[in-house]
């Protein structure tokens, strides 16, 4: 049985705990043991805290990694932002001895040391590369007949040099995982477009980022999808809470259900929408839930 530390980050546990519980449920089914990473903090958010002060960003990121080093686990993230922060920090510290020394001077003040022994994984790339599409298919008991708009998000695949996940312009691994559940990944215009949330932009200029989100939602609607499936709680928030903000600010209503991949796979494994918290989005998902109750083959 594989064993990983479950790095929660901020938005999953503190806004969308449905992603946290769904991840636990599906990983248990797949025989991947998740251990809580007790005392972990914000990753911290790459575009924001790395912008402000790189030393701060590295010190908190390295502490999070060290917590997992100390129990000998690789880290599992369910968020593109956490993945971006921790992968980049881990790599920088592994490759730059002088930087590592500086960071370790700081960490020594709290009695810790970065050694560079562990890796950082994202649930989607982990499922694709370590568990494999065939094993996922085998774990599916209730194939889902849904048309899905897959949203990769940016930091899962970019910068591609540090991710080793192939072509960032037109990747397919996430689509393959979605289709393993029985769903159809529907192509839509400008599919790899950013949700708009990152880099502190949502905080700084909400309305402008919502126009980006609205563009993306328009393209999904035009493709006739039943729901969005994403890989990141921050994209999730921008796409879900964003719809309620767009309705209020621009008087435009979409009503598209937003699911994290862990929730889609959970449905295909036979968990109920309530067990996976699909009824807890800010957009009202009740019609969608009715549909999947009737439509799950």
């Amino acid at each position: 049985m594989s064993k990983l530390s479950f790095f929660l980050g901020c938005i999953a546990p503190n806004r969308y705990p449905c992603i946290e519980i769904s991840t636990k449920k599906i990983m248990e089914r797949l025989d991947v043991k998740l251990e809580e990473l007790e005392g972990a903090s914000c990753c911290p958010a790459p575009g924001v805290f790395r912008s402000f002060d790189k030393t701060t960003w590295l010190s908190l990121a390295s502490r999070n990694i060290v917590l997992s080093e100390e129990i000998g686990n690789d880290i599992l993230t369910v968020c593109n932002g956490c993945f971006g922060s921790l992968v980049d920090a881990n790599l920088m510290l592994k490759e730059d001895a002088a930087l590592k020394e500086d960071v370790n001077k700081m960490l020594s003040e709290i009695g810790r040391e970065f050694k560079g022994t562990q890796d950082v994984r994202h649930i989607v790339e982990y499922l694709f590369q370590e568990v494999g599409v065939e094993s996922i298919k085998n774990a599916v008991t209730n194939p889902i007949d849904l048309k899905v708009a897959v949203h990769y998000g940016c930091h899962l695949v970019k910068p591609s040099k540090e991710r080793h996940l192939g072509n960032a312009e037109n990747p397919t691994f996430f689509d393959e995982l979605v289709e393993a559940t029985g769903a159809t990944s529907v192509d839509y215009e400008d599919k790899m477009a950013c949700c708009g949330a990152g880099g502190g932009a949502r905080t700084a200029v909400l309305d402008t980022t919502l126009h980006m989100t609205s563009n993306k939602l328009d393209h999904m609607v035009a493709a006739g999808v039943d729901c969005i499936v994403d890989a990141c709680p921050f994209c999730h928030l921008q796409l879900d809470v964003g719809q309620t903000e767009i309705k209020k600010k621009f008087d435009k209503e979409y009503g598209i259900p937003v699911l994290h991949y862990s929730q889609l796979l959970g449905l295909a494994m036979g968990f109920t929408p309530e067990e996976l918290g699909i009824d807890m989005n800010f957009v009202d998902n009740s019609k969608f839930i009715e549909k999947i109750r009737g439509g799950v083959k």
């Binding site: 503190n14 575009g47 402000f52 002060d53 880099g199 200029v205 402008t208 980006m212 918290g277």
Partner: protein, 178 residues
């Protein structure tokens, strides 16, 4: 009409500081192909956000103009431009470095300061709230997650690191202005 650029205002020091960021030095190789800005999803929404222009300004050392340009905070860090740059410029990393220099010159959006204060106080940029506690309980999770939220000693460690890095001072509330 554009203002005339005064070469006497260029800061070689500023340019060099940006170039310390790995891949930012490649800005010197930019031949203005506009591949970065023409594909930028933020430029599509807000034409004043122009990463090509910002990095050209960086190459000239236009410190004051750049640090006080409010649009440097619009980038969502989607990395599309950095992926596509034919000269291998680390566009986004360079922009983040420009932001860092701004922050260390006391230029920071108040809303970003607030997010920074949340990390200083709670160890999370997005801390728990009552509505989420309810949801957690309903899902069978502990009401409060097993992060710094549940471990005061862990939060103290975070605070110690932020203090050593000087981050608590960076995001400290400004003194009330009259």
């Amino acid at each position: 009409m554009s203002d005339t650029i005064k070469t006497s205002n260029f800061s070689q020091e500023f340019r060099e500081e940006i170039f310390e960021e790995p891949g930012a030095d490649k800005i010197a190789l930019c031949f203005n192909c506009t591949g970065c800005s023409s594909g930028c999803p933020m430029t599509e929404q807000e034409p004043e956000f122009n990463i090509r222009k910002f990095l050209r300004m960086a190459n000239l050392g236009m410190k004051d103009e750049l640090l006080n340009n409010t649009y440097i905070w619009y980038c969502t860090t989607c990395y599309k431009c950095q992926e596509r740059c034919p000269q291998g410029v680390h566009n986004v990393d360079a922009l983040l470095k420009i932001r860092t220099i701004a922050v260390h010159n006391g230029i920071m959006l108040p809303v970003h300061k607030k997010v920074g204060q949340l990390v200083v106080n709670y160890g999370h940029a997005v801390p728990i709230n009552d509505a989420t506690k309810e949801k957690r309980k309903k899902l069978g999770l502990d009401e409060v997650p097993p992060t710094v939220h549940s471990f005061p000693d862990a939060l103290d460690e975070v605070k110690t690191l932020l203090h050593i890095a000087g981050f608590d001072k960076i995001v400290a509330k400004e003194e009330e202005e009259k």
